[in-house]
């Protein structure tokens, strides 16, 4: 049984989160609360742990519908990329599905890519 799809998705005020495949999470809306880690850090950690347990080759994080986030939320993506980068032995590719039309995604995922290019992939849609 997939541990990834068994991860409990929290309800957050301004962001809709769904697991849309055995290796895909989709987030849409905005993330601008004071401490987004309260809702999302645990989710990202659980998805990472489940992906490792499932020995997934790739995890797709579709953020193309996230129209705006604050820097505290960007930090959560930095943390996720760092967890994958720091794994020894098996590790998966973390593929962010992004939109060319959303400014923060262009600048921030470019920066994230430079940080952990060996474990990240960026896919552009629209």
């Amino acid at each position: 049984m997939s541990q990834f799809t068994a991860v409990q998705v929290p309800k957050a005020e301004t962001v809709v989160i769904s697991l849309t495949a055995p290796n895909q999470v989709k987030l849409s809306g905005t993330i601008t609360q004071k401490d987004p880690a309260h809702d999302l850090a645990g989710l990202f950690k659980a998805l990472h742990t489940a992906a490792m347990a499932d020995k997934l080759a790739e995890v797709r994080a579709d953020v193309s519908g996230l129209t705006f986030v604050n820097s505290s939320a960007i930090r959560l993506f930095v943390d996720w990329a760092t967890w994958v980068k720091n794994e020894r032995g098996h590790r998966y590719t973390l593929r962010f599905v992004t939109s060319r039309n959303v400014t923060w995604q262009k600048t921030s995922f470019m920066a994230l890519m430079s940080l952990a290019k060996e474990v990240l992939a960026i896919e552009h849609v629209t």
């Binding site: 820097s71 930090r75 930095v78 943390d79 980068k85 400014t103 940080l115």
Partner: protein, 168 residues
């Protein structure tokens, strides 16, 4: 995107800012003020790109101002937006807790030793290396994604003014 037909871009600075707002330092106001800034820049200057930059500048500067404001009765925030037809200036005045001032000064000096892209990349590396520390991505993000330069002026009464200036 094409410029708005009823563009209100001033030819030279007027006696008053295009926008001036004064409000209590409450997190609940930030989303609304950011989205007003997006609407204002889109409507006045007619470019989505500038509207997106305005959102980053307003969100991150107001978050910092709200987080570190003192609890005194005179700690209202002031946001103004001005333009001379070639440049845009966002100015945020606040009364921070004294303990925050030196770290803010250091952070501003630090990011200004690098070009905006390099400073943003360096902030990512620092965040990655210090998982337990606060993100501290905001100021570098403002410069890079907002396309502005930042300056800080200390004013009377313990207030500070952060100014973000960039091309239209």
């Amino acid at each position: 995107m094409e410029r708005a037909e009823n563009s209100h871009i001033p030819k030279k600075p007027g006696p008053y800012p295009l926008v001036f707002m004064r409000f209590r330092p409450a997190w609940a106001y930030i989303d609304g003020i950011r989205e007003f800034g997006r609407f204002f820049c889109q409507t006045t200057f007619g470019t989505q790109e500038l509207a997106d930059r305005a959102c980053v500048v307003i969100q991150e500067t107001l978050e910092n101002a709200v987080k570190y404001s003192s609890n005194s009765a005179d700690s209202e925030l002031e946001l103004s937006i001005e333009s001379d037809g070639a440049n845009i200036e966002f100015s945020i005045s606040s009364r921070p807790d004294a303990s925050h001032l030196s770290s803010l000064r250091e952070e501003l000096i630090g990011i200004q030793t690098l070009d905006p892209e390099q400073a943003y990349l360096a902030a990512f590396v620092r965040a990655s290396n210090e998982p337990e520390a606060s993100a501290r991505l905001g100021l570098a993000r403002i410069r890079y994604e907002g396309g502005v330069e930042l300056s800080m002026k200390e004013e009377s009464g313990g207030r500070i003014r952060i100014t973000a200036t960039g091309k239209l």
